[in-house]
Amino acid sequence: MKRLLLTSWKWVDDRLGISDLIGPSMKHLVPHDAGWWYVFGSATMVALIVQVVTGVALAFSYVSSSSQAYETLVFITRDAPFGSFLRGLHYFGASAMVLMVGAHMAQTFLFGSYKYPREMNWATGVLLLGFTLVMGFTGQLLRWDQNATWSVVVAAEQAGRVPLIGDWLARFILGGNSIGGATLSRFFAIHVFIIPALIFAFVALHLRLVLRHGISEPPTAGKPVDPKTYRKEYNDLIKRTGHPFFPDGAWRDFVFGTGLIIAIVLLALFVGPPALDKPPDPSVLQADPRPDWYLLWYFAVLALIPPKIEGYVMILAPAVIGMLLLLGPLLNNRGERAPSRRPWSIAVVLISVLTIGSLWIAGSRSPWSPNFNPVPLTPEIIGTTNGPVFHGAQLFQSKACLNCHLIQGHGGRRGPDLTYIASILAKDNMTIRIVNGGVNMPAFGATLKPEEITDLVAFLESRKRP
């Protein structure tokens, strides 16, 4: 049996040339000291494979029709054998891919591996990061629940800010003048055909470039990259001390990739896929659109940038960041690679991580959004069950003050916490603020009667620090 298999394999390999095709790639020499820092690229590839396999499986039941997609998602999640697990794998696979791309990029940047002759390795990687984020966003839309449909509108509104062609772009995203039959199918085409084709092409090019230029050696302080001598130095080093990628270098990739798959499987099993929102009925307005976690930071950006410049930030910032990432290696392709000699590179990575992390936390809490379902104030919090203070507390709730302000942990966070407002604001100032409004607060002078304002102020005056 073994002999038959071996003979068969030799026949197939001879006719198809598999060993000739893959062999040189597997045996190519890699730096002997390329350690665990180098696993993130292959881990991204592992996550991509998980996405392809689970995506194809999900496509067996998913119907990309505006009228049926939601029902098929419900079927996949609730009724199809392993459907919920598969959705979980696809979701956490996407999350892993975003994380691994980020880690791979940070490592490449810190090690100065983008420098000569690997500028195009970096550039293709930057494009792959962009494609990955587009896949994440369009994937969220394919859930085709209420959150997805409103996210399409948000995307169209942003595209609408592009000068000259904004309205066209917005209509292209919507698939017409409104959400409808043409909307989902275009995102399906983008998510399943267009972007995957680009990803496959650029992954192939990226890998080709990795083989062409070799895996960069870990940086050494005091050994700058000089384009005139680098190739010879690298080739000499690799010939002298390099190890074949398989098995000497590949085992770490295998171990880390396996660990990543196990993590994705465990998360899919025990956390499960993201819950489906309500059906995609655009006439139901009880919606609370939020992006998936990997774009929550951008959701925060849209809330926190000053309105006067937000259009410029929305359009110009991605363009500038993209250009900087793409052109950076061309403008800085020589010199020291070691992070110790490039402390600014550590600062860039740290600031990027801290900025995105802080925005992510802000986005997940979204304190700028009103709380539409605040827990009512209890008699214990109000401190009385009758009189002006009690009536003021009722007004505080019915007039939507509680939607934006906290009182002892009840309410929203859009405005200041008013738990002890009487300790910091005088009665007259409270009245002025309520009647005229304030920074980011509506004026209630036209909607509240004078006696209602008196009662509301009486309630707020009772909010003193003990």
């Binding site: 049926q68 948000v154 609408g160 904004g166 309205d167 989902l184 919606a287 259009g311 539409f372 909607t447």
Partner: protein
Amino acid sequence: MLGVPLVGFVVAPLFRKMPDSWIPVGKISDFEIGKTVNVPFPDPSPLPWAGITAKGAAWLRRESDDRFTAFSINCTHMGCPVRWLQDAELFMCPCHGGVYYKDGTVAAGPPPKPLIRYEVRISNGKVEIKSAAIPITTKL
């Protein structure tokens, strides 16, 4: 030769015109003076497979016996669906905290413009709203 039909097919929705139609949303007597309500209505030109998405909605306010105001449900900041809080007489946006007064003017938050208004008319005792595209409101 191949590019023209290919691109033309993909971008065709850009050139799909909104039909110039009036959509009935209820009888006059269905609406109370001073109240603002959500009025759902069917998409005037849905594709056959649009299903549940072939719908739209507006906020309709009856100002007097024969005067109505219809607002777009889309926040002028990012297009999210604003909600009406009757007692507070405010529209609030769940996404980035935009707030509008009952006449649609901006009360607080990032929206750069008042809520878009739709044309409304009364015909044969029925309130009708003129069909309109999702407003792409904010330009750079």
